[in-house]
């Protein structure tokens, strides 16, 4: 039983756990007290002096970020004295601020802009020249605009407390103080340094990668899961013009708190790749040779490339024949596919008599933990759903760079389904011996000549679904990009074919239904409900215990 404290903030009673600060209590009731130096993931130095509120009985205004609640406390965040304080502090912040919002990347998501618009003076009183500090390269992806800095020291504290790699400090004192690096390389090579850009409340620390790329208000922010390792960090895709512009971490206290690693953050370009499979296409040149990638791309642009009905109908016919003759089935999956896709593939293969499903996944020897929140680690598996594939009895093959391991399929004569693996390292005649060779993927394969049909599927950025992270946490992602051409989720494609082959008409109509069927089919997912996963996810039934947990 948690001890609670009841207090009054702006005339409303609120009950919070003992030890909560006034700022957190106010936040819990939806009253956001302006602040800079306080960040929920860092220590609170109470130095920005913006969060000062009036507490009845206290002689002075109190810093709400460090003042813990006491029973019966009466707090006023909107009293004349608190407002005067904020107006005054904001004027101090603007004293030396360059007001270069039109060319500042932070504009639109800047706390200085927001607060001054809300409560600042309409006109500054300073007649003095401004202090000029200029720009500095902090190394890595981080650029520092000294003039915009509000000296909240969040970046210094992140490097000290979370990254525990103290590469930043405040040099000089008073009005001359400025954030600086110790050595020339700055934060270069510090694997979590990108977070200091996220937590900078103003435009002092900006990302070089995102520099002058898009305005904050033009971006759509879509909740997603980082697809670059099996940690499953909760992120947002920031999208403009149907292109992912950057990735930002999204709070999830169970997975990544407020942070994400630079490795994940900077690997989003593949979601924007062109050269996509646009239309389903029967493999006309099968066994005939000479049907290179260029021809396929050309054929794609023609309307007669095929419709889903005809291509899937033809595929179903071939499969029915092959099944009648007792052909074996084998499949290659991908750890980048969602649980729904993998479940559908498992179901599809089982419907055709069952067979081995393998997947290849990139892997590294190095784990990169965040010392201040050791649960967050850039994991060894550099794909989001390795755990999901394993839970569905798919086996990893090949080497750590996701190549090789498919030699036993080269001469395979049965039904071969490849989902999401581009097979770039395989010879052009891979699968030539297979009776049926169905290829599902977002990209036009570079090599393959022997496919029976090419079926365009979407990436996780274009659809909704779930991934299972390293510890067995099932987490949802949402669609952020428009689909290219007639690409469809792989689970839908596989289910339509399976329905046609089996003559069974039940096909899930949404990712939710696809997930529900997965949960019904597999004990490990049983009891999970898509709608209840929410934004924080839920553990599968045999979660892997965390080291040290």
């Amino acid at each position: 039983m948690v001890e609670t404290v009841t207090l009054t903030i702006d005339g409303l009673e609120v009950t919070v756990p003992k030890g909560t600060t006034i700022l957190q209590a106010a936040e819990a009731m939806g009253n956001r007290i302006p602040h800079y130096c306080y960040h929920p993931g860092l220590s609170a130095p109470a130095q920005c002096r913006l969060c000062l509120v009036e507490v009845e009985g206290a002689p002075k205004l109190q810093a709400s970020c460090v003042t813990t609640v006491t029973p019966g406390q009466v707090v006023h965040t909107q009293s004349e004295s608190a407002k005067t304080q904020r107006r005054g502090v904001l004027e101090f912040y603007l004293k030396n601020h360059p007001l270069d919002c039109p060319i500042c990347d932070q504009s639109g998501e800047c706390k200085l802009q927001d607060y001054v618009h809300e409560e600042g003076r309409p006109k500054g009183r300073s007649r003095e020249p401004k202090r000029v500090l200029g720009r500095d390269d902090f190394g890595g992806d981080v650029l520092f605009y000294g003039d915009r800095c509000v000296m909240c020291t969040r970046c210094v504290r992140f490097m000290n407390e979370q990254a525990q790699d103290p590469r930043l400090t405040v040099v000089e004192r008073g009005n001359r103080s400025v954030i600086d690096t110790f050595f020339e390389e700055g934060v270069e090579g510090s694997p979590y340094a990108g977070n200091i850009v996220d937590i900078c409340p103003v435009g002092a620390l900006v990302s070089k990668d995102f520099l002058h790329k898009a305005r904050a208000w033009d971006l759509d922010r879509i909740p997603s899961i980082c697809p670059n390792c099996s940690q499953g960090c909760n992120i947002e895709l920031h999208v403009r013009d149907n292109l992912v512009q950057r990735l930002k971490p999204r709070d999830n206290p169970d997975v990544n708190q407020h942070w994400m690693c630079d490795y994940g953050r900077h690997r989003y370009e593949w979601m924007n790749r062109s050269g996509r499979l646009l239309l389903p296409k029967p493999g006309e040149g099968r066994h005939a040779g000479g049907n290179g990638a260029g021809d396929i791309a050309l054929a794609q642009s023609l309307p007669e490339a095929g419709s889903w009905e005809s291509v899937l109908g033809d595929l179903a016919d071939l499969l029915v024949d092959a099944r009648a003759e007792g052909a074996e089935v084998r499949a290659v999956a991908s750890p980048f596919a969602s649980n729904e896709d993998l479940g559908a593939l498992r179901r599809f293969v089982d419907a055709l008599g069952g067979g081995r499903i393998v997947f290849r996944s990139p892997r590294t020897d190095e784990e990169l933990p965040l010392p201040g929140f050791p649960k967050l680690v850039r994991r060894r598996d550099l794909a989001p759903n390795v755990r999901g594939a394993e839970l569905l009895q798919m086996s990893r093959v090949g080497s750590d760079d996701a190549t090789g391991g498919l030699d036993d399929l080269v001469g395979f004569e049965g039904i071969l389904v490849v989902m999401g693996d581009d097979l770039d390292d395989m010879a052009p005649d891979f699968g030539a011996a297979a009776r049926v060779f169905a290829f599902l993927g977002p990209q036009v394969p570079r090599q393959l000549q022997a496919v029976t049909c090419l079926l365009p599927t979407v990436t996780h950025a274009e659809t909704e679904g779930t991934f299972t992270n390293f510890e067995g946490r099932v987490q949802r992602f949402w669609p952020g990009l428009h689909t290219h051409g007639e690409a469809r989720p792989a689970w839908q494609v596989l289910d339509l074919v399976a329905a046609a082959v089996l003559g069974d008409g039940t096909v899930p109509e949404s990712a939710a239904e696809a997930f529900q069927r997965l949960a019904d089919d597999h004990a490990v997912f049983q009891g999970l409900r898509y709608e209840e996963l929410g934004t924080r996810g839920a553990l599968v039934n045999d979660p892997v215990p965390l080291p040290g947990a």
Partner: protein
């Protein structure tokens, strides 16, 4: 006379050994009765020591005037680990020069006081944090500490009492803010000298995260005398609420500036005209800063009836602070004085809190502009408003200190400002 100025109205208790080089040595100090108080105190219970200091009514000499005995009693009743005493010898308040002399002339007096205090608060280790610029004082003090260690007054099992106390002399790097008690602790720990947020207070979480009491040099120097002669004896000097003697650092436009040890409650005008030999010939009194640069400035009228004790100065519209009396006669331009003070605070602000970091600099710039004849009357309103914004809104009181002389000088010496503004307007018009 070895030491510059003495006066017959002085009551020399703390400054008794000043000017006598032999008093710096252990032998010399013992000849003056040194270390008797330590012996006596170690034989008493720590509660009895605290009670004696409480009875004396001694108030902290660092500026705030907080009762010392009461401060000591804030330390944990049950000791759970290491506890510390910090001696604040980072004397840097403009106009103050008393601790420097105490360190230079009577280091053993301070060491004895530290040891008694450490016993009273059960401290295992005493850190004497000296201002970085005190080169000579630190040398003298360090030598005295060595002597006292060799003589068994410091270290293991002092005088066979079973009590062990160590003393470390630490030299700062020359930042004014490190005289603020929590900044001092940060600096002592090897961090940036930034004041800490209170609570927790040092008596709960102080230096190195342990319960710590911090006392001024002059406070600790008074302790041996109180322990020798008793609290009632100490009360014979001074007033009811401000007992004892106090070192007054007098500087500015008087004939004989210097350190004078006088009973608290001494009239300000007598200090100026009698003890310090009066103003320079032909000059009249314009302003007095009674307690170091951080307190409000008094005009001549306010000085008339002012007595120099904690209550008396407050009544007269200022604060006694650390009793650094700066006297200014009618040749003084207050704007220039205040600008120099604010420049000092702008330079010494640690830069943590926004109102102080930006405010001190802004004020300094405005004052500079007024001084150069480019000011307007509007600037005075801005200055007063900035002062309000800087008072009571920060972690420590440095910005309050910067705002106080600005506000009081505008209130009491507005004509000085207006003269510069008007002259500037005339020149600008021509």
């Amino acid at each position: 006379m070895a030491f510059p100025y003495e006066h017959e109205r002085e009551v020399r208790i703390l400054s008794r050994g000043w000017g006598d080089p032999s008093a710096r040595t252990l032998e010399g100090w013992k000849a003056l009765g040194g270390y008797k108080a330590l012996e006596k105190s170690l034989s008493m219970s720590r509660e009895a020591v605290i009670d004696e200091v409480k009875a004396s009514g001694l108030r902290g000499r660092g500026g705030a005037g907080f009762p010392t005995g009461l401060k000591w009693s804030f330390m944990p009743k049950e000791k759970t680990g290491l506890q510390y005493l910090c001696c604040n010898a980072d004397e840097s308040e403009p106009g103050t020069f008393k601790d420097r002399e105490l360190l230079r002339w009577s280091p053993h007096q301070l060491i004895e006081g530290c040891l008694i205090a450490a016993h009273a608060i059960q401290a295992d280790h005493v850190f004497i944090y000296c201002r970085g610029e005190f080169f000579e004082a630190v040398q003298v003090l360090a030598r005295a500490v060595e002597e006292a260690y060799a003589a068994g007054f410091i270290g293991e099992n002092i005088l066979g009492s079973g009590i062990s106390i160590d003393i470390t002399v630490h030299s700062g790097a020359g930042a004014y803010i490190c005289g603020e008690e929590t900044a001092l602790m940060n600096s002592l720990e090897g961090r940036r000298g930034l004041p800490r947020v209170k609570p927790p207070f040092p008596a709960a979480v102080g230096a190195f995260g342990r319960p710590t009491t911090i006392n001024n040099v002059e406070t600790l120097c008074a302790i041996p005398h109180i322990m020798t002669h008793g609290g009632a004896w100490y009360r014979e000097q001074g007033t009811e609420k401000s007992p004892g003697t106090k070192l007054f650092c007098v500087s500015g436009h008087v004939v004989r500036p210097g350190n004078y040890e006088l009973p608290l409650g001494f009239p300000l005008m007598e200090l100026i005209h009698d003890v310090c030999g009066g103003l320079r010939p032909g000059r009249t009194l314009k302003a007095v800063i009674p307690g170091g640069s951080s307190v409000p400035i008094m005009n001549a009228a306010e000085c008339e009836a002012c007595t120099l004790d904690y209550e008396g100065v407050v009544e007269a519209g200022s604060m006694l602070g650390c009793a650094s009396v700066i006297i200014m006669d009618d040749s003084t331009n207050l704007v220039k004085q205040v600008r120099r003070m604010v420049d000092f605070y702008a330079h010494e602000s640690c830069g943590q809190c926004t109102p102080c970091r930006e405010g001190t600099q802004w004020m300094a710039r405005i004052l500079r502009r007024i001084e150069e004849g480019r000011g307007t009357e509007e600037d005075l309103d801005t200055l007063l408003d900035l002062g309000d914004q800087m008072t009571g809104t920060t972690i420590c009181v440095l910005s309050d200190s910067a705002a106080a002389p600005v506000a009081s000088s505008i209130a009491k010496f507005r004509d000085d400002y207006l003269a510069l503004i008007r002259r500037g307007e005339r020149v600008g018009a021509a």
